[in-house]
């Protein structure tokens, strides 16, 4: 192998009889380098985008949600919540009550999903409340913490936190926090009173009448996810229970876990701990389509950019084919003193691989350097268009390995024909016409 490498390396460095072969060789190296660098940069950007989206998404949502299979709500949830907080890898848990509502202000209205929460707990499993950019989520906190409209009992720790089952907080106008797009849809601003209408109405002598509640809009959040910003609204758990006529009932317990990627597994443990009739869904299951789309985008990007490497490989094929034509006499001479067909084949295989290795190494260095620079000197983006104000770069070593393997593999394929034709040279024939 040393002999073949010795010849191949010298052929690569030597001045060409046909200058065009040298030019094509240089173009091949540049082409491979450009393809590899483009792949590394594109993968770093798609990884960065994915990571950013994942971080924001996971900030907004819980890692695992526990619900009743029959969707009949979780009663006597306090001991269950305390029990499930002890499950290994669970770092936080919070109760919640979901319900579909119509939120309106004057003539304008929009559909929404109310989540009744205990703010102190909710903040441990999701950060939508920390993303309030107008007003404040503090108004959702129980009594004496700035809340304008709620008075909560204060007897005992747990009671103070969750409220006693039979306690009826005295409400005037309960506070509500809604998403930015929903606020725009109904034309509401902080301080406005909005009407929240629940389809789960009350039976009156006049028939089923929808239940409604006037709420004070105390905060508007912006998560960057249309799904949340256009429909989510937060109320205190007690207020939501009253609105939905569900005394001391929750529909979900949300969890944060210490290892994102084991959310499915930890979810199954939580399910077992909760007992029969419960099911969990993880963030991966809830957002499977989104991440599948991101993965697909990454694969398509990879394939499209890998075409650059294919074009470069085509250059390698042309350069090597021309070199074999140029070197036919030398090949015959090598064979005349005993160089085997396999050795000749390997000389040109190695030459193609040398071009590819040099191009790939240059491309890796260039790609990672530019990715690092892109991450270091942030490239600004229009946040209103991309929902992120800079281009995120997240280069990964594993991507470099895959790109290098693909680049070398494609180049190796390109060397097969010319190296094969070099091995077929018949020395007597080749030198007869010299």
């Amino acid at each position: 192998m040393r002999f073949e490498l010795f010849i191949a390396a010298r052929y690569l460095r030597a001045k060409r009889r046909q200058a065009v072969v040298g030019v094509i060789t240089a173009i091949s190296i540049i082409g491979v380098a450009a393809g590899v660098a483009s792949l590394i940069i594109a993968l770093a950007i798609t990884n960065g985008m994915r990571r950013d989206m994942q971080e924001r998404l996971l900030g907004s949502t819980a890692h695992v949600d526990l619900m009743r299979v029959a969707a009949d709500g979780i009663r006597n949830w306090r001991p269950l919540l305390e029990k499930l907080r002890q499950v290994p890898h669970v770092t936080a848990a919070a109760p919640g009550l979901y319900g579909q509502v119509l939120i309106s202000r004057g003539a304008r209205s929009g559909g929404g999903l109310i989540k009744g929460i205990i703010p102190a707990d909710e903040k441990t499993v999701g950060d939508l409340l920390q993303k309030v950019y107008e007003g404040s989520a503090e108004a959702l906190e129980p009594a004496d913490n700035g809340s304008r409209s709620a008075r909560m009992p204060t007897s005992g720790d747990e009671t103070a936190r969750y409220g006693a089952p039979d306690t009826v907080a005295v409400q005037t106008v309960p506070p509500i926090v809604i998403g930015k797009d929903l606020a725009e849809t109904i034309g509401a601003k902080v301080g406005d009173t909005v009407l929240v209408t629940s389809p789960q109405g009350e039976l009156t002598p006049l028939g089923l009448v929808p239940k409604y509640q006037r709420c004070s809009l105390v905060g508007i959040f912006k998560s960057g996810f249309y799904q949340y910003d256009s429909s989510y609204a937060f109320m205190r758990l007690k207020d939501a229970q009253r609105l939905f006529s569900e005394p001391d009932l929750i529909s979900v317990i949300s969890f944060k876990v210490d290892d994102l990627y084991k959310a499915d597994k930890i979810g199954r443990v939580i399910e077992e701990e909760a007992g029969k009739g419960f099911q969990t869904t993880s963030w991966m299951q809830q957002n499977r389509e989104l991440f599948r789309a991101l993965k697909l985008e990454q694969i398509v990007t990879f394939i499209v950019l890998a075409l650059i490497v294919c074009v470069a490989a085509l250059n390698i094929l042309i350069a090597l084919t021309m070199m074999v034509m140029e070197k036919t006499r030398d090949i015959a001479v090598l064979m005349s003193f005993g160089v085997t067909e396999m050795q000749v084949r390997r000389i040109f295989l190695m030459q193609g691989l040398l071009i590819s290795v040099i191009g790939t190494l240059l491309g890796l260095v260039l790609g990672y350097a530019l990715s690092w620079a892109g991450g270091h000197y942030r490239f600004p983006l229009d946040a209103s268009v991309y929902s992120i104000d800079y281009l995120p770069f997240a280069p990964r070593v594993w991507d470099g390995v895959i790109v290098a393997v693909v680049s070398l593999g494609v180049s190796l394929m390109a060397t097969l024909y010319p190296s094969g034709s070099a091995a077929k040279v018949l020395p007597a024939e080749a030198l007869r016409y010299e």
Binding site: A14, V333, F337, G338
Partner: protein
């Protein structure tokens, strides 16, 4: 003389074993161009070269001298017949065995030097040894010795383009002999050189042949050189004839 007083015939000198033999060698090229038919160079050709001989083959251009040399070096295959080197039957060789035969048993010198221009004279000489897997240092040492043998001990670091025609052919000769082969086959080694340089190269070949106990076959157009060989054979009409010297 025996006891009976009868004269016994003088014992016939034992002919040494032929190192290289060709038996019934035929070479026909398939139709070279449309309608031209096949080209028969020779048919049923026999040749025996004995150890230590320096055989010259002469003949007109196109007679098939170079082709015969290619067949003897396993660079080409005959249409019929067989070439033997010692006990080895060349037509039975696989491609790999043929390569090994050319690397170990044959030193080949072409009319043109055919040095690899990307490499120095020393690297060119060491190339057959490197090809067989010998270490670089050992191969270059042997190469340097053979460059010295052809009188170019100080020119090892020069590339072929920096050498004269005669020097290039000497390097080519050193490359052919670096593996210390049984056979030296030279195809018009002086054909591309001027008279004086050609003479010097021929004398070098002759000197090395004697000094290293080689068995050599030379194809040449130069009857003077051919006359100075052990035997001269003429390839004519597809047959080899022994040329007797006056």
């Amino acid at each position: 003389m025996t006891d009976s007083g009868r004269m016994q015939p003088f014992p016939k000198p034992q002919k040494p074993q032929a190192v290289l033999r060709a038996e019934g060698l035929t070479k026909v090229y398939a139709e070279v161009s449309e309608g031209a038919g096949g080209l028969e160079l020779f048919r049923g050709l026999d040749l025996a070269v004995h150890a230590g001989e320096m055989v010259a083959i002469v003949g007109e251009s196109g007679a098939g001298k170079s082709t015969l040399l290619h067949l003897l070096a396993a660079l080409d295959k005959p249409t019929a017949g067989e070439v033997y080197c010692g006990e080895a039957q060349l037509s039975k060789f696989t491609a790999r065995e043929a390569s090994e035969f050319r690397n170990r048993d044959v030193g080949y010198v072409w009319q043109f030097h055919y040095l690899l221009p990307e490499f120095t004279a020393l690297e060119n000489v060491a190339m057959p040894l490197l090809a067989r897997g010998m270490g670089r240092t050992a191969a270059l040492e042997r190469g340097a010795y053979w460059l010295g043998e052809v009188g170019l001990g100080t020119r090892g670091h020069h590339r072929s383009g920096e050498l004269s025609g005669g020097e290039q052919q000497r390097v080519s000769l050193a490359r052919a002999l670096v593996t210390e082969p049984k056979l030296l086959l030279a195809d018009e080694p002086t054909g591309d050189l001027d008279t004086r340089t050609g003479e010097a190269v021929f004398e070098l070949i002759q000197g090395l042949h004697q000094a290293h106990g080689l068995t050599s076959v030379l194809v040449t157009h130069n009857l003077d050189f051919a006359g100075r060989c052990t035997r001269m054979l003429r390839l004519k009409g597809g047959r080899l004839e022994e040329v007797t010297r006056s």
